[in-house]
């Protein structure tokens, strides 16, 4: 037996989901902190400074490769788990317990994750991809603050972003606690604490993200 085997057992797959999920949670904190600079409402000066650092720093760019790697692993492993788990019960129940024995969001991680993925495709194509393309083709960085201001004038974009953030919030309510439970920290000593922090995180972070398009759309930030 070897490492590959250990990571491919049912607990090993849980660990893959947990560790990549925790990395993505760390990414969310950094992303949220940097983007929240727009709330200084200084015409994007501080935000663009932070965005310039994130977009040009060698270390951050190197970590970006890791981020995409972990993101893809999280998505692929998650979908594979969903499909293999479904296949473990070929004959399904005529009547199911539904919300009587578990929370809907804990059973809907694949669906919520897919919604987040669809949102991500739009999100990356609007900001990350044009900016990196511009950098690689020698035209330098784009003014991301102005891009945000322009994009978030369109009501459909604001609506999609809001739904993306709601999906993220529900995904995190289960994901945050679940990643620690998988690492074995779901003991009576820590479980309540982890769940509380997880719920606070799942409300605060998506709320800050959702406030960004809304603030631009409402012209609170100019």
């Amino acid at each position: 037996m070897n490492w590959k085997h250990y990571f491919n057992t049912s607990i090993g797959k849980k660990l893959q989901m947990s560790l990549t999920g925790l990395f993505l949670i760390l990414f969310l904190i950094v992303h949220c902190y940097v983007n929240a600079q727009i709330f200084y409402n200084d015409g994007g000066v501080r935000f663009n400074e932070a965005a310039h650092f994130m977009g040009t720093n060698f270390l951050i760019r190197a970590i970006e490769f890791g981020l995409f790697g972990f993101l893809i692993l999280h998505i692929v492993q998650g979908l594979m788990l969903w499909s293999s788990n479904r296949a473990k019960r070929t004959n399904r129940y005529a009547v199911s317990a539904g919300n009587q024995t578990s929370k809907w969001y804990s059973r809907s991680m694949a669906l919520l994750g897919t919604l987040i993925l669809l949102f991500l495709v739009l999100h990356l194509s609007k900001f990350w991809a044009p900016n990196r393309y511009s950098q690689l083709s020698g035209n330098g960085e784009k003014n991301l603050f102005e891009m945000m201001r322009d994009e978030f004038q369109m009501s459909w974009v604001v609506i999609v972003y809001t739904f993306g953030c709601i999906s993220l919030g529900w995904h995190l309510v289960h994901g945050f606690y679940s990643s620690f439970q998988t690492l074995g920290l779901g003991t009576h000593k820590y479980k309540g604490f982890i769940k509380s922090i997880g719920i606070a995180f799942s409300i605060i972070v998506p709320l800050i993200f959702a406030a960004m398009p809304v603030a631009f759309f409402m012209q609170w930030i100019k």
Binding site: T9, V95, G98, Q100, T101, S102, Q181
Partner: protein, 252 residues
Amino acid sequence: MNLTLKVWKQKNNKTQGAFETFKVSNISSEMSFLEMFDVLNEQLVAEGKEPVAFDHDCREGICGMCSMYINGRAHGPWTHNTTCQLHMREYKDGDTIVVEPWRANAFPVIKDLVVNRSSFDRIIQSGGYISVNTGNAVDANALPVEKQKADDSFAAAMCIGCGACVAACPNASAMLFVSAKVSHLSLLPQGEPERKARAVNMVNQMDTEGFGSCTNIGACEAECPKGISLENIARLNREYISAVLSGSANSA
């Protein structure tokens, strides 16, 4: 009371099953759910029809045999109880009750509501044991055990292996069962020598048997008749990680 029962009938593992509807009358609210099935079967036998096959043994909530999935709930709607402990006072005259077998590919249907849970036995065989020297029995108090660990171990040992955790889990995962068995032995000094190999081997066997992967949904804990806690799953995760990281699992 008079009831309508929609019961899963299936000849064997090779054939497709289907629901069949039965009427039972004069059911006392003091009967257990299994006694209500006894009435149904007596009625079927008297009519010259084949009775419904269902598992049962002790009828006092400790053997874990009575595996019925009742109106979407393992062992019915009550918490911390088995089907034999479910009483008909839960139901009203005229109710329709849907009764299904445990559904999981790792628990193939033998007949009607009876499923084959030998996969649990094979998981136990793969690591759910301790080694004891032969000779005179050792004094019960020769090995000191920390009170909290003794209590946690005892709570895990309450698992009766009924399979409600698998039946209730949307992923058909056996993690609660396996974690209870691993916890029960690994918390005690007697379980120490095989501790690491046990965690790895039992998880391997669980995967081989075709159970799903745990995604921390928690329906198992909600349906467990013995109140086995999700903390045991956290402990199994720790046992597994520590066995793999220490490298001692290879000796398994």
